[in-house]
């Protein structure tokens, strides 16, 4: 009397457990497939290889910058110094023309003064000679 009922419940339990295991297995498979798709989509979106082909130095600099930030170097005095230097370098093209104009004017002024000295060289020497005597 008790045997069939016991076997029946065990069979149902086994069947239920098997179904659950199958369900978990299929869910895991789906999850794996989705993860693979996501990774391939991410790869396509980032397209690191092609980017490395096109801009190798920029990509290396970007990777180094990411590593620098991950290493905790963002809020440091070295970063502040670097940022200040970067601002100066970025501002240089803006003030380059002004610097060239300044240099040209100073050079032309120097040339004019040396020319005038060369043309009137006899007078000052006589003056200095008289003052020295």
């Amino acid at each position: 009397m008790s045997k069939p009922s016991g076997n029946g419940t065990h069979g149902k339990e086994h069947r239920g457990l098997g179904e659950r295991v199958e369900h978990i297995g299929s869910s895991a498979q789906e999850l794996l497939t989705e993860a693979r798709d996501t990774v391939s989509d991410l790869r396509k979106t980032l397209d690191l290889t092609a980017r490395m082909e096109r801009h190798p130095y920029a990509m290396l600099a970007a990777a180094a910058a990411v590593g620098y930030v991950l290493g905790g170097g963002l809020f440091t005095s070295a970063t502040a110094r670097l940022v200040r230097l970067g601002i100066k370098v970025a501002a240089f093209p803006l003030i380059k023309n002004e610097l060239f104009n300044l240099a040209e004017s100073s050079l032309s002024g120097f040339g004019a003064s040396s020319g005038s000295e060369a043309s009137g060289s006899t007078e000052p020497s006589s003056e200095t000679g008289s003052s020295g005597a």
Partner: protein, 65 residues
């Protein structure tokens, strides 16, 4: 002699002295650039990871100071 002429003469002399050396340096730099970019293109993952590691180490050093 005028000062500008003297300056020009000096500049010409410096150019004559440094010209070949500059050309050589330019050629060497161009060769290095070609080799480096071909290396990076051949091994992009390694180079990216290397740059990341380098930046991480520099960041660690900077955060300690």
């Amino acid at each position: 002699m005028d000062a500008t002429q003297q300056l020009q003469q000096k500049a010409r002399e410096v150019q004559e002295k440094l010209g070949p050396q500059l050309d050589e340096a330019k050629k060497n730099l161009s060769d290095f650039n070609t080799r480096f970019t071909s290396f990076v293109r051949a091994r992009p993952g390694v180079c990216l990871l290397g740059a990341l590691a380098f930046g991480f180490i520099v960041g660690r050093i900077a955060s300690r100071h």
